[in-house]
Symmetry: C4
Subunit: 206 residues, 4 copies
Amino acid sequence: MTPEAPAKETARVEAFSDGVFAIAITLLVLEFRVPRLGHDASGAQLWSALRELWPSLVAFFGSFAAILIMWVSHHGLFRMVKLVDTPFLYANGFMLLMVTFVPFPTAVLAEYLGHPGERVAAAFYCFTFVLMSITFQLWWWTTTRRRLLYEHVAPQQVARIWRSYRRGFAVYVAATALSFWSAAVGLGLCVALWVYWARLSYRTEV
Amino acid sequence: MTPEAPAKETARVEAFSDGVFAIAITLLVLEFRVPRLGHDASGAQLWSALRELWPSLVAFFGSFAAILIMWVSHHGLFRMVKLVDTPFLYANGFMLLMVTFVPFPTAVLAEYLGHPGERVAAAFYCFTFVLMSITFQLWWWTTTRRRLLYEHVAPQQVARIWRSYRRGFAVYVAATALSFWSAAVGLGLCVALWVYWARLSYRTEV
Amino acid sequence: MTPEAPAKETARVEAFSDGVFAIAITLLVLEFRVPRLGHDASGAQLWSALRELWPSLVAFFGSFAAILIMWVSHHGLFRMVKLVDTPFLYANGFMLLMVTFVPFPTAVLAEYLGHPGERVAAAFYCFTFVLMSITFQLWWWTTTRRRLLYEHVAPQQVARIWRSYRRGFAVYVAATALSFWSAAVGLGLCVALWVYWARLSYRTEV
Amino acid sequence: MTPEAPAKETARVEAFSDGVFAIAITLLVLEFRVPRLGHDASGAQLWSALRELWPSLVAFFGSFAAILIMWVSHHGLFRMVKLVDTPFLYANGFMLLMVTFVPFPTAVLAEYLGHPGERVAAAFYCFTFVLMSITFQLWWWTTTRRRLLYEHVAPQQVARIWRSYRRGFAVYVAATALSFWSAAVGLGLCVALWVYWARLSYRTEV
């Protein structure tokens, strides 16, 4: 309505999104359960119980890195966004839905990693990121389709982001399928993708 | 006191409200409970336990959508608000009270959906939105009554929002009553209302 | 350092405080525990189990109102604050410590209200607000002592806030003591104080 | 891209960090578990159960103070930061990873303090701060190495912060080692360091 209204709108969506990212990333710690060994447990027993939490540590670290990389990416993308409209708010909200869901597959993975159910747990975990990738693509599709970007964003840049999303989607689908064969391979593929993305954001933005 | 103070005030209320919305929407994931099948559970057992979580998924998705639509609506309404006073802060806080309560009926619904108690759980869920609707109406009443809106907001727009709230209230009351007869019908009515509102915000704002 | 630095600082402390208030107020809902009656429970059983949650509802509503009123008060006080320094940050943090603690006595109250332990639970709840009152006084003492207020804040206003805090402190001490005799009287005294404060903020600010 | 973009970027990183700090500090309260004595428990039994929560209170208070001091420190450091780039975002995220982890060792400490396992629990707690110290040093290394500070920040100030970090690291390593001998000594060393830092920030900034 007023000339500055769109800018204010962007700020509020970013703040809300940041809040959701910040909470989802912090809730991951709730997945760690304090070993309840009773009050008479010796130090050695507690030590051994803490060491058995390694799957929780792996799952925590992986999901933290994943959400952090998504936040950095969301952050970079938002720098290109000039305007906000209602479809964009829903597309953004749909993406946040998946982000808030991450602590649950993380907790499932932490519970079953290193045990017979680990392949199903890993496939469930990877599949969450297949859906995540779809919501990111929907977000980007809404943003570009409705011309919400700044004028200075080049078509090549838009196309490069599309390519990056399509590759990510393919990798997550492969990781989900491979998890049924080996949890380590499926999860390793996800980690490799995150490292690749983190390095990419290093090279393109710095 | 200073000419810009009111603007600053609005910003802080919006930030606080966004924080509450963001946290309430993220806490919904805590409703998912990791299946505790023991470490020897096979992948097939885990798979079957995860599939049995469909009521949690339905409840999570529904409540996420409901809170998101309320946030988008709150966001749109706040664009009309110019001034903030103490009664407004309490009306806003009363509305946030209901928003923070949503994870509880959601968890109750997730626990009993598909079981004999589902009709009571659905009625409890729908009734939460009856109360929610009342707090939104109180919010709007306070805002309009105390003349906190920008001058350019037309009386027709104010009246249209009142009509929309009254209809929403009637639908929620009907959904609560119908839930005692069929959980699916009661919940379906709520979902239909949310879809209608989401579409409405599409048409009026974009 | 630069002339605008203090303003930026205030903004960040307010944002952090708002975050803590928003999270503490939203965590209150975690106190509600879903009745685990098993999947075969009838609607009537669920209904009766939900009705037995009335102490949770009372505790939730009371603590929500208390935190909301404190937030509105904090909000009003911050409008008088011009500068921020390190002692102020610690005084503010100490006050937030008490705010984040509120969900615990609330949960204890919800568990024991209506049962033999209710008087101790109520006294524990009221005593939390005795400590809260001390941290608010420490906050105000730091703010006034270090001359962080705007020049236009009158000494009478400062004195009026001191009086209000001293009265609040006395009421909370009395509520704690009376709780050992009757939980309803102790808690009722707290509620009366909150209603008084809410009305006061209505009259003085609007 | 535009001249004001960096400033906006700093604001968003600060807001995200503040969100994570605020949530981590508020989640500490979840570590308190309501004594479940059954509904027939007398007031005296509840009173005695509440008194037995002293380890939770110690752990809560310690971790709250630690996170608060880190937040104040983060806050002071950010005032020197002019620019933000992707490596900085990851270094900051890595540091936040440790901040969000704090509630877990806090809960372990609360469970075992005053029991045979307390020395292992204290060592685990102190070791968390060894890792925390490493992430803070990485953060500072990234910030200074990539020249993200304002021009007016003196090399002496940078060097003084390095010295402070190295000392902190040494104290945490010592505290971890000494915890295996006595939990009180290890934890006392951490508390002494926090008091020293809190006083330091008083003297240097005020």
